[in-house]
Amino acid sequence: MSERTGSPVSTAAQGSPPSAPAPHLPDVAPELAAPERSGRRGSALVHRLVVVRELGILAALLLLVVVTVAVNPRFLSGQNVRDLLLSASILTVLAAGQTMVIITRNVDLSVGSVLGLSAYASGTLLVTAPDLPVVVVVLAGMAVGAACGLLNGAIVAVAKVPSLVVTLGTLYAFRGLDSLWASSTGRLQINAADLPASFKALGGARVLGVPVLFLIAVAVVLVMGYYLRTYRSGRELYGIGSAPDAARLSGIPVGRRVLTAFVVNGALAGLAGVLYAARFQTLDTTAGTGQELFVVAAAVVGGVAIFGGSGSVYGAALGALLLTTIGTALPQLGLDPFWRDAAVGALIIAAIALDRTLTLRLAARLRGRNVRGS
């Protein structure tokens, strides 16, 4: 909100005339031609920085695991790793969706409430119609989430109001809707006993020892990551976040793309709600409360720029994994659990500070090679 971008590209660079004219263009005096300056190294550098960024999270993760294992070797037991992956799955799905929104220079703070609403909706659905196939429940939960996302996205895209404010409002409104629904039906809590066994099996199910919930999260991340990188509309999302005005002038349907990002994010929050229901099997109107902090934190820690335009779903997923691991590791390290929130906060700050430093260095490198004056 604070950052206003003027000219999208730094103006502090210097220019020298392009060189080696193509044959059909008039000759430029050869002595004016400058040697190649940007070089292929530019992209290599960028690539390296991105990799460094994600490797950095991975390294932090490894360090944490190694230290924890040193203190408590059972940390890496099959059961514990499974539990960890299970815990990370819901946050990962949310972070993947949030990444898509943040990339467009928006944010969705209502995801925790959407998760709660969708979890409660799918729980209610299962209570009233226990024989429904799980797939239908999943789709229904996603539909609820998508509807919420549609509302968010529509207000943001049509009324052109900052998403921060809109989703702050819907964070409250959706939660209110959730509890209003619950109190009007009198079903304040849905317990494990109310849910059909077929659905509950999803929560603990494993394939080759890996929790199914985690596989779902991985699938979401892979699909989303591939989409954002390889499809035109995915690249346009980056364009919108990188320079919204330029995006409009380039004919990118900004409103529609942003709307889509919100709907997809809503649908994923809905999916997360169903996963939540399957995993926790006890649902009340507080499900998912406060998740928005961790979701945004996961994305930011994972290198997704809060002002859009850069970052990847993979990074966000790693961020989610790191945050979850911290939550699991602290008690096992014997640290006061009260330190967890403080650690999460410190990590967010460290992550953005690191990103900033890397970006500055990158910009300096890209520019530095242009200048021969000094």
């Binding site: 999208p8 220019g15 392009p18 035109r232 002038l249």
Partner: protein, 511 residues
């Protein structure tokens, strides 16, 4: 470009605007505007700032929809209701300010939304880079397609924009003041591209304030004034004077009226100023009553030097003295206290707070001086602002209106008022007349001349050679971050300045 696909033969009207109206709220930007572009012509659109040129461009680009009138493409009415529609119609636009995505690669910037695809509608990255390289080869640009646009120089950004426009195989290429940020060589390169396109049968619409470019490139000239069409005529039948008269609607006084003044004491001393990677070892003096121009190509580091002198940027080595006293570095407040004023390069971003009122802008630099016991009254601000508005003949509806409602020239006067009211000893002006209309331009020049006569030391950064030659007592020329020449008025001409600016001049030892 695929030249075989062009349906229009040379000379056919490709695109026409008929009686187009456009208003923003109560403000009518266009009233019955007209334009006719033929295949194979370069067509200039000129007019003072506020004449409606940019609005017209945005209508062609599909950004704004006209309120009335018609657009005809190949003689058939067409609705360009989005930038995408304009593109589909074969209209490519290069805007005044580059509009790139800093986080995306150069190749993606060029092909955004049109990336080559392989199976399953996936982007074919290899083909993308290859096409981009091909395009760059045609343009003679050497840039890595995979590097991000972040960190590109303005000129390079403009090159990417040009490449983008080329990649459309556009039938109509609109260039809205593309040369404002380019230096001579780059302008030539751009014109080469425009001529090649024209030769291939495209229509080129060229918007510029620089008459030598307009007359050098264009076949016909359309003049606009106050949102209305004034005239369209072949360039060959026009003179600069005629065009200026049509634009302004009156006679204009001579352009560069600098009077000779006896230079006084040295007021500003810059010694060995160095900012790593940007400029190095810059030393010069400016005397009272003198106008010293800093010339050079865009990117030579001129603006960066004056920014460092004023303290907006820091520097790594060297010193600045004002009236013999050393100046604290990196502090605009200190520079102001010492009597330096800087009218910056970018009026909209740096010179003014566009959303604030004229009076607030005009008194922003004097807010402490106007305060009584720490309190500021709107009345005091208004009185001061009104005083300066009168002195500089600022045309504004109300002083409480946002400064963004003023024309470019009047905005520049507000910037000048803001700085002159600080009663500076050194006035630094960076591109003082960029993007302002002819009439105001000469007013500004007269003002600078008078200020120098009153004993101000004036430093002027300008990319317009005629302005430099007309106004400056001395011309300091920069090339790639170094000061390469110091040319007194008597010796300064286009050749000497350009040679030095391009690094060809004799390595004159400065100072």
């Amino acid at each position: 470009m695929d030249r075989t696909q062009r349906p229009a033969a040379s000379g056919d009207v490709v695109l026409a605007l008929e009686d187009v109206d456009k208003s923003f709220g109560a403000v009518a930007a266009l009233r019955g505007a007209r334009l006719e572009l033929r295949a194979g012509e370069a067509h200039a659109l000129v007019g003072e700032n506020g004449a409606g040129k940019s609005t017209l461009v945005k209508i062609l680009a599909g950004v704004h929809a006209p309120d009335g009138g018609r657009l005809l493409l190949d003689g058939a009415p067409v609705h360009l209701d989005s930038p995408a529609a304009a593109r589909a119609a074969g209209i490519a636009v290069i805007y005044q300010e580059p509009t790139l995505f800093p986080d995306l690669s150069v190749a993606e910037n060029i092909y955004m939304g049109r990336q080559p695809l392989s199976g399953g509608r996936r982007i074919d990255r290899r083909a993308l880079a290859a096409r981009c390289r091909e395009l760059f080869d045609r343009l003679g640009v050497h840039m890595d397609p995979d590097r991000p646009a972040r960190g590109l120089s303005i000129a390079d950004q403009q090159m990417v924009e040009i490449a983008k426009a080329l990649s459309f195989d556009a039938r109509v290429l609109v260039m809205d003041e593309p040369t404002a940020a380019l230096s001579g060589v780059e302008v030539e390169r751009l014109f080469a591209v425009a001529r090649a396109l024209r030769a291939a049968g495209a229509a080129v619409l060229f918007i510029s304030h620089r008459f030598e470019e307009v007359f050098g490139l264009c076949d016909r000239i359309t003049v606009m004034r106050d949102g209305r069409w004034v005239s369209t005529a072949p360039t060959a039948e026009l003179t600069v004077d005629q065009v200026v008269r049509a634009m302004v609607g009156r006679e204009v006084a001579s352009l560069f009226p600098k009077q000779d003044v006896e230079a006084g004491d040295v007021v500003l001393e810059v010694r060995g100023l160095t900012r790593r990677g940007v400029f190095s070892d810059i030393s010069f003096d400016v005397r009272a009553g003198e106008i010293v121009a800093l010339a050079g190509l865009v990117g030579a580091g001129r603006s960066e030097v004056v920014r460092a002198v004023f303290g907006v940027d820091g520097y790594d080595a060297g010193s600045v003295r004002v009236g013999g006293r050393p100046l604290k570095k990196g502090s605009p407040a200190a520079a102001m206290a010492a009597g330096i004023a800087l009218v910056p390069e970018d009026r909209r971003q740096q010179g003014l707070v566009m959303e604030l009122s004229v009076e607030r802008n005009a008194t922003l630099t004097r807010r402490w001086k106007l305060a009584r016991a720490g309190l500021l009254s709107t009345r005091a601000e208004r009185a001061t602002a009104a005083d300066w508005a009168r002195k500089l003949q600022v045309k504004a509806g109300k002083l409480a209106d946002p400064v963004s409602t003023l024309s470019g020239g009047n905005q520049q006067k507000v910037v000048l008022a803001k700085w002159l009211s600080t009663e500076p000893r050194v006035l630094i002006v960076d591109e003082p007349t960029r993007g302002i209309d002819v009439g105001t331009k000469s007013e500004v020049h007269r003002l600078m001349s008078r200020l120098a006569a009153d004993g101000l030391a004036v430093v002027m950064v300008s990319s317009e050679l005629p302005e430099v030659l007309g106004m400056a007592d001395r011309v300091l020329v920069m090339h790639e971050g170094r000061l390469v020449d110091d040319i007194p008025r008597a010796r300064a001409d286009e050749d000497s300045v350009m040679l030095a600016a391009t690094g060809q001049g004799g390595t004159a030892v400065v100072r």
